[in-house]
């Protein structure tokens, strides 16, 4: 009896003990000033772990380069990758951990985590360098974030218009839209661009998130006799739709346009040879004649089985450099007692950075929104992207 009595109380005691240990763990953390610790709330597990992987990769690469060149103000930079998965509570708890000491935080990456965790950073006055998502998500938390892209309705119409202009015989277009995160607004922007050059948009085909078969969707699209196709859905689904289109006798693949978020490794691993000839737009120019970029590209391919860098892969590379420049140019000390004002210094620097040399382009930011950032249009030939056009 006594034994059982004890056992029934031992479990709650373990819990209390656990909480104590865990809180000491937090209180015990001290800010070390002999290196620049930059937390990166990333998603390296769960359904989009593959995207998180290359984001971590590029952030670490930037840090290695900087450290090899002597660090920032004489101290090395250290990216601390913190996994949040796609869970909102994990993201919030991790963000709550870093608001005590971080100068600036990179991420969070998945949209659900941004929505949940950024308010905590805003409350604490900590700047979040989110460079992996659309304007719609980050603008909500201005000025404590910046947008890596111009507003969707400004940046996307020119690129779809440019694509349409390459195919003057294309009069009607069907768009496949997956209802997920910021993709419906992007689909709307695609349509605006196409309509601006006189292309008629047929009825959208909606792609269910849990679809396993794509033939019915493709049939629905082809029943409208379109001249062109725009794919605004996840990379795997885009690839499968292209394969189905091929089976149904679609000939001119250059009249299939894949949007930037689908330009990811999963597109190529799923689509294989069927992708040959399709058009893709994204924000990195693979053929940029710049030694720094080519070195990045080679290293990326070496670590990823020869796959070309994905559209989002350079974002956090530039982010790390932007933070480095902010620390150097605003003479940040990293002294914990000046944390609050130095956070604001970084924020104000990054949100209005002028002439910052990114790996792909020179950045000019105005109040957290980049100006003059263009997109690139490619056509895929024998597995290689061929540059077609660029927009400003």
């Amino acid at each position: 009896m006594k034994n059982k009595f004890f056992r029934s109380f031992s479990l709650p005691l373990i819990v209390i003990g656990m909480i104590l240990i865990f809180s000491f763990n937090i209180w015990g953390q001290e800010v070390v000033v002999d290196e620049w610790r930059i937390p990166f709330l990333n998603c390296v597990t769960g359904p989009i772990a593959s995207i998180g992987e290359y984001m971590s990769w590029s952030a670490n690469r930037a840090a290695e380069e900087i450290n090899a060149a002597g660090g920032v103000r004489g101290k090395p930079i250290k990216i601390e990758i913190i996994d949040t998965g796609v869970s909102k509570d994990k993201a919030m708890e991790e963000m709550a951990k870093v608001v005590d000491w971080a100068l600036v935080v990179m991420g969070p990456v998945p949209e659900a985590c941004i929505m949940a965790a950024v308010p905590i950073a805003v409350k604490a006055g900590l700047f979040c360098m989110i460079s992996s998502t659309s304007y719609e998500y980050t603008v909500e938390y201005f000025p404590w974030t910046l947008s890596w892209y111009p507003p969707t309705e400004e940046k996307l119409p020119p690129i779809t218009a440019a694509w349409a202009e390459l195919h003057p015989d294309m009069k009607t277009v069907v768009q496949f839209v997956e209802y997920s995160i910021a993709w419906p607004p992007m689909a709307k922007a695609h349509a605006i661009g196409l309509e601006s050059v006189g292309v008629k948009m047929l009825k959208d085909v909606d792609v269910p998130t849990d679809a396993v078969m794509f033939e019915p969707l493709v049939l629905k699209a082809l029943a409208q006799n379109p001249d062109g196709i725009v794919l605004t859905c996840s990379p795997e689904k885009a690839a499968k739709i292209i394969i189905e289109l091929e089976k149904k006798g679609w000939e001119d693949k250059s009249k299939i346009l894949v949007f930037s978020s689908a330009d990811d490794t999963a597109l190529y691993t799923t689509g294989g040879k069927s992708l040959d000839g399709i058009s893709i737009y994204n924000y990195i120019n693979l053929y940029l004649d710049d030694p720094r970029w080519q070195a990045f590209r080679e290293a990326y391919k070496k670590d990823h089985n020869g796959i070309e860098p994905a559209s989002l892969s350079t974002n956090y590379y530039d982010s790390v450099y932007m933070i480095k420049e902010a620390i150097e140019n605003t003479e940040i000390t990293g002294d914990p007692s000046k944390l609050g004002e130095e956070r604001i210094k970084i924020r104000d620097y990054c949100r209005n950075v002028k002439g910052f040399k990114g790996i792909q382009l020179t950045w000019d930011m105005t109040d957290g929104v980049p100006t003059g950032k263009g997109a690139f249009l490619f056509v895929l030939e024998n597995g290689e992207k061929k540059f077609l056009a660029a927009t400003k």
């Binding site: 769960g46 998945p110 659900a112």
Partner: protein, 283 residues
């Protein structure tokens, strides 16, 4: 108080509420995932009403509880005494239907989500006071005639009928209370997180709640409290290399617990220091 502790305690409390909401209908052998749908509905409603119409928090709490109860009441007319897996499928489908509706509703932010829900002062103490009230309520239900009737229904429905227990009414009662709690948890969640997104209410949330209920123990209300603390704490305590495998850890915990302690960490046997009053053999 440390910020992390604040969020840890807050989420744990919300998950305890949701765990209890899952626990109550399971008293009569029903896995009622409709609670997640209710949580999504009230989180959106609460967020919208607070931001756009400026409704006060206390009013929203009451409205959230009523919304949950009303949804449950409508559904329970049909599934009051339905077998376990019918209730499972009703819950799962309603979660997906609610998500689809939200994703297509521009006013609620569509697929992007809904931002800037106002904050409330002293939210954490309020959550814990509510937790105590709900806990007391469930304790009272458990130790009432209804609780004992539910135990009979769980073991053998035919015996329960022969004892004159109205299974449908009992099932409806537990479902309505559960969804009312879930409705309250939805409001608390919206104010605690300050934003809502369709991505918050997924199948992985359902599996997490299942873990909380069955790892902790489904025969008493106390198991949920223990396992919510443990499961919410695991990813925070362990180094990130281990924590990134948390889904595997949860899954393994679930299998191991079902194997070696089918009644969960805290069972009635343990609390009473006695043999269980009934066995779980459905002959």
């Amino acid at each position: 108080m440390s910020e992390v502790l604040y969020y840890f305690l807050g989420f744990t409390a919300i998950y305890i509420l949701m765990g209890w909401a899952l626990y109550l209908p399971y008293r009569v052998g029903q896995l009622h995932f409709l609670i997640v749908a209710c949580m999504a509905v009230t989180a959106y409603f609460g967020g919208f009403a607070a931001r756009e119409w400026g409704w006060p928090f206390i009013l929203l709490l009451l409205v959230g509880i009523s919304i949950g109860a009303i949804i449950a009441f409508v559904f329970s007319q049909a599934i009051g005494k339905a077998p376990c897996f019918t209730v499972v499928i009703v819950g799962l489908t309603s979660v997906f239907i609610v998500k689809t509706v939200i994703e297509n509703w521009e006013l609620l932010g569509g697929t992007i989500g809904f931002f800037h829900i106002p904050t409330v002062k002293y939210l954490l103490p309020i959550i814990y006071i509510l937790l105590l009230i709900v806990g007391f309520l469930i304790y009272k239900i458990d130790h009432s005639r209804l609780g004992r009737a539910a135990s009979v229904v769980f073991v053998d429905r035919e015996v329960a009928v022969s004892l004159g227990i109205d299974i449908k009414k009992l099932g409806m009662f537990f479902q309505i209370i559960a969804c009312a709690i879930a409705g309250m948890a939805g409001i608390l969640d919206a104010f605690f997180v300050n934003s809502v997104s369709p991505e918050f209410f997924t199948f992985s949330m359902i599996s997490y709640l299942m873990c909380i209920l069955f790892v902790g123990g489904y025969t008493t209300m106390w198991g949920v409290i223990l396992s919510a603390f443990i499961l919410q704490g695991i990813p925070l305590l362990f180094p990130s290399e281990v924590a990134s495998w948390r889904q595997v850890i949860y899954g393994a915990l679930l299998v191991i617990i079902i194997l070696i302690r089918p009644e969960g960490l805290i069972s009635r046997k343990m609390l009473w220091g006695l043999k269980p009053k009934f066995s779980f053999n459905n002959k």
